[in-house]
Symmetry: C2
Subunit: 351 residues, 2 copies
């Protein structure tokens, strides 16, 4: 029997942050694809379009008119999934029909006044002001809410209905599932090892090197050992940082620089504006601000859906919905592929 | 402040089978949709096509030739995610880089020799032979494997690459995440209450009625209180049943009948062949066959992605991937909508 090779032989891997497993079947990349293909992403976006509710000076569905903003612009979502008020359910004592109150607020943040630009093509200073705004939002909404989820859905394939560069913030009175599980797992690891899980993990990844894609003085970009999506990655500060607002000036500059670089690599993968969902996870806020959160480490996650080409994505369906996530190429193969991509954006190289 | 109304006011609901919460935001159905629309599903499928590897007498990618089958037909997947052999990873003592062996087998089952038919349009006897085959596969693969996941991905939007009516079976040497969590939750409930969770749940749903869609002598089809997908449903036997092979003759007939009815309602929703992923969960097999599994109750789950129309699905992206599932309409609204749909298939009504 041959020797085990993770790039060739199936195995399951454990995600210590979420206490779950994923199935890795690298031999499966060989299968042909006859399924659905996605429409290539829209390349002809107008820079300003008064009918686009995210543009400067446009009128939004709520009737409010956007200012003629010049950098970032934050406003309340006109169709929020979470409201800050309203009646709450009675507590039902039956554990099979349990509901609980949910309050919150939803905001939208435009990254730039232009609809035809994306983060990797923005100036470093412009990306830096996005970082500052994230930190500001996390501080502001974190006063009141237990969890502030900053996330960006990019591309039509990720359900994003507007090409204008923007992200969303959903802040809630409760700790959602994922952060809740991560809080538990990181706390347990910290109690057992006296160090934050993700700092130990980062240290080991920096020795192993095989999953690290990019590094700078303050940040490391890597494919986590337990990645689920084909080109899923994680962005980690080198220092122990709890929340976005705790980042130093230097770390914010370095983050802007790293984001431009990593998103350039993503775009260069299939020479298209790469779709993904991304978001930040850090120590919880609200009433948790009082407690000890030393077990937490701030990190960003990128979940891009594409697998084979600009038009063929990985479907997380049947087996994944009912049993367990499954991936085809390994985390190491993905990291190598990302490492080898050019560092200059395809739209800006040569001419 | 007005009185709480679950069809109007946001709240979170608890899923006792998986120990997690979902966010319900019914007020959000009002938002307009300008995002991606799906291609309507293919309606012009040839009944026989020799180049389709699922057709009778067709040659598959492996070079094997299908028999001229007349009912169901089961074969080994030519591109299996799980193989029954191969080297296994060394156990790494580091909890941050943990992997484990994964063995298994993947099979495909065609429901019918025709490519242009679907379960709701098949004869009741034909659906019954699908049920019998499922039970047979679960018995056969369950001798060797801990978990036999039977699932069907239907429609291009669910990554299904072949319109020929078929399902898949992935059997594994390990208990995948989802079944593992359900095993734990059902066991705990059983220990505390002396009755299987899903039987208690069913009893209460039959009294409440508001989430029940269809009933017959042996089965109940309902929208679970904690449903995530817009029209997610669960199919439960009335009797305490551990596995597909434990179903009586009468229950199998009643299941075939129920499946035809429920899938007819699904198709009538948007007058199209309704896409979904579905699958069976029952007591684990393999080495678990020896143990006590009284806490388990067999059930099927249907996860359809569509929300608003034949072409607009619910995107489980940013917030859902990073924080927690979110749904717009409530489980009760979905059940009512399903209940009110005609019982005659739109393709068979009229003349
Ligand atoms: O085997 P298929 O149908 O080609 O593949 C489909 O179902 C599998 C099991 O849910 C998924 O892993 C794949 O991403 C999906 O495309
Ligand atoms: O608010 P949007 O961008 O219209 O909506 C999008 O992101 C939300 C948060 O991830 C999802 O719940 C929606 O399904 C998706 O379409």
């Amino acid at each position: 029997m041959s020797v085990f090779n993770p790039s060739e032989h199936q195995h399951i891997r454990y995600n210590p942050l979420k206490d779950e497993w994923i199935l890795v079947s690298p031999h499966r990349m060989k299968r042909p694809w006859k399924g659905q293909v996605e429409k290539p992403s829209e390349e002809n976006v107008a820079r300003f379009d008064q009918s686009n509710p995210l543009c400067p000076k446009a009128t939004r569905p709520s009737g409010k008119v956007n200012p003629d903003y010049e950098a970032t612009f934050v406003f309340e979502n006109d169709f929020p999934a979470l409201l800050d008020h309203g009646p709450s359910p009675d507590s039902d004592s039956d554990s099979l029909f349990k509901s609980a109150p949910a309050y919150g607020t939803c905001e939208v943040m435009c990254f730039h006044p232009w609809s035809d630009i994306t983060l990797p093509l923005m100036l470093k200073e412009e990306v830096r002001s996005v970082v500052d705004k994230w930190a500001e939002i996390n501080t502001r909404l974190g006063q009141k809410f237990q969890w502030v989820q900053i996330f960006e859905n990019k591309g039509a394939v990720m359900g994003c209905s507007n090409p204008h560069p923007h992200c969303q913030v959903w802040a809630s009175s409760f700790l959602p599932n994922d952060p809740c599980v991560k809080d538990r797992c990181q706390r347990k690891y910290y109690e057992q090892n006296g160090k934050p899980l993700l700092l130990d993990y980062l240290e080991k990844e920096l020795l192993k090197k095989e999953r690290v894609v990019l590094e700078n003085d303050c940040w490391v970009w890597l494919v986590p050992y337990w990645a689920v999506w084909p080109y899923e990655t994680m962005l980690l500060p080198r220092r122990h940082v709890l929340r976005l607002q705790d980042l130093t000036e230097e770390e914010r500059d370095a983050l802007a620089d790293m984001m431009k670089k990593l998103l350039t690599k993503y775009d260069n993968m299939f020479e298209m504006s790469f779709p993904y969902s991304m978001g930040w996870h850090g120590a919880p806020t609200g009433k948790f601000l009082e407690g000890d959160n030393s077990h937490w480490q701030l990190h960003a996650l990128y979940f891009p859906p594409l697998l084979r080409s600009a038009t063929v994505k990985k479907f997380m369906v049947g087996y994944e919905m009912l049993a367990q996530p499954q991936r085809d190429l390994t985390a190491e193969q993905a990291a190598e592929k990302l490492r080898n991509l050019p560092g200059v954006h395809y739209k800006q190289s040569g001419n």
